[in-house]
Symmetry: C2
Subunit: 344 residues, 2 copies
């Protein structure tokens, strides 16, 4: 491995500089990506290992990040469970058979990654080969709550009306659904590691809609199960719960070698709250990348100061990069992180 | 005043039970409201004092809340500033002349409430007359950041791209805009109090999109100015910053006799953080009201336990009520708050 700074930072080992990658770094802000997207649907790109590989490598080549993350979507493993998934134009994901009854939950199948998402595993192998040890490759999955919310709501949601109603009114059914999803996540992530993913990230994108009490009761046991079942893999696991500053201690309790945080909380305060015996990832406001490099540089410095040269900081955005972001600003950000975090 | 429990709670005085009202309590979840809405546009309703009055009184009559809040929209005072506002069907507010340049900011006028929003002041007088002291009336305004975000983005926003860019790239222009908006808010709220509003709420609905550092630098001084300029009125002022748990201490520093909190944080933790020398308002997840009364009752009890019978708790939702909410559940919630908070 030529550049293992990211992996060493995940383990809170000494590093020469703070590694950096970006959530959604393989994406629409890059002209190289749009060039391919022009001729292929989003799902086609996910399901064609050669295309997924090419897109995964683009930010490594162009932006100089310290890790690659597989180009994929968190909803892909749901198809094998029996979910009828579509990416409608301009609408985001649509699920035509939302899960809301006991019969719906019963019908859901566990997946066999080799049969249900072979293209993901093949893409991982191909990316590893193409990367040839330049930087490590991160695999990922949605967390139980986030996947459940899509399945119940039938897509994205503002208020999670159906999801919360099921949770509160039919807690047994809720837990049965979460157990099935959690098993799928475990087999999906274990298969990714077996195929060559060198780190794994679990995205709990929408869990910030819950109160701490609801998180503790309805989510934590399931997320915890997932992290426990990945512990023997020996690859670092990152746990990112979006817009969930008030849940930080609980998120940490659920598990993960690295806890991802968004920009709504100071990195210093967040790290203090989760404890210095885990690594931390974050937490630049993605909109910062729309500002001129001078502003970006200043914001990068502030975060590095908050991290205080402690081992175990992985620089990242606090959420996925916006499609409007100029690539040159991203490059300036990566350079600033490397420059200002250099250990003497 | 027949029922001044709400006002006494705002001042942290002893009360017989915890008062309760709901954000957006005059709204689409009530058939009485929809009956009127059928024949009038939203703006028409806001601008016709008789209609605004009728709608304001509906939840007082039907649901039994301990305070009325004027039916109005936070964007109304912007029209007098020169903002071309429209409530497009199914789209929410649209501003046809967003504020993005120095010239745009310069053109904005300060308002004369008596001339620019006479219908608001008239509605307040009419509501007070109709209420005849049954419960107090709350007036309200958007906070500087929230109003600025609408003006700059031209409507609602997901990422606040334009707003944050202006803030970071042209801080002087940003502050000039915030100063103008803050002056408008002050004159608007002072006029509401003069017309008869017995308490005031400042809604910072979208400020949760900011990091604590950005809030401190770009928002706090302006919000603070607003609260300082209202201090001599002698009416309690509520400061609600939505999805802003990590900003709580700063929000409290900005001002307000009562700090509103959403459900993402435990009420006990929130109160401890802001200090017991201010009152607190909140914080039931509005989606809870979709659950059966048994679940609602349990969630009400949990929040009351967190408030621990301390003087200065006003029960409310953590955000506006959803239009899908059954009125009977709202009534059950209000009754549960009154029943389980009764002081012996």
């Amino acid at each position: 491995m030529k550049n293992d700074v990211f992996l060493r930072a995940c383990k809170r080992e000494k590093v020469e500089y703070t590694p950096v990658w970006l959530m959604r770094q393989a994406g629409r802000y890059m002209s190289e990506y749009m060039e391919i997207r022009k001729n292929h649907s989003f799902l086609e790109m996910c399901k064609t290992p050669e295309l997924a590989t090419e897109v995964t490598l683009q930010p490594v080549n162009r932006v100089g990040v310290d890790a690659a993350i597989l180009f994929a979507d968190i909803l892909l493993p749901l198809e094998g469970m029996g979910i009828d998934l579509e990416f409608a134009k301009g609408e985001g994901p649509v699920i035509h058979n939302p899960v809301r009854s006991e019969a719906d939950v019963k019908k859901l199948r566990l997946i066999e990654p080799e049969q249900d998402v072979p293209y993901v595993l093949e893409a991982i192998k191909l990316v590893r080969k193409e990367l040839d040890g330049r930087v490590p490759l991160i695999g990922f999955s949605g967390a139980p709550f986030t996947l459940a919310s899509y399945m119940i709501e039938g897509g994205g949601s503002r208020n999670y009306l159906y999801c919360k109603q099921l949770m509160w009114q039919a807690p047994q059914l809720w837990h049965a659904l979460m157990e099935k999803i959690s098993k799928v996540i475990v087999s999906y992530l274990r298969a990714q590691a077996a195929a060559g993913a060198q780190a794994l990230q679990v995205f709990d994108s929408w869990v910030g809609a819950l109160s701490p009490a609801d998180y503790a009761e309805y989510v934590l046991p399931h997320s915890k199960y997932v992290f426990e079942q990945l512990a023997d893999l020996g690859v670092p696991v990152i746990h990112f719960a979006n817009n969930a500053s008030t849940l930080l201690e609980l998120v940490r309790e659920a598990g993960g070698d690295v806890i991802g945080v968004d920009w709504r909380i100071g990195l210093d305060e967040a790290w203090q709250r989760i404890g210095y015996d885990v690594a931390i990832q974050g937490n630049l406001d993605p909109v910062s990348l729309m500002a001129p490099p001078k502003v970006i540089e200043q914001k990068v410095k502030e975060i590095l100061e908050q991290a205080d040269n402690r081992p175990g900081h992985i620089f990242n955005l606090g959420h996925g990069i916006n499609k409007e972001t100029p690539v040159d600003n991203v490059i300036a950000m990566v350079e600033a992180v490397h420059k200002y975090s250099k250990r003497s």
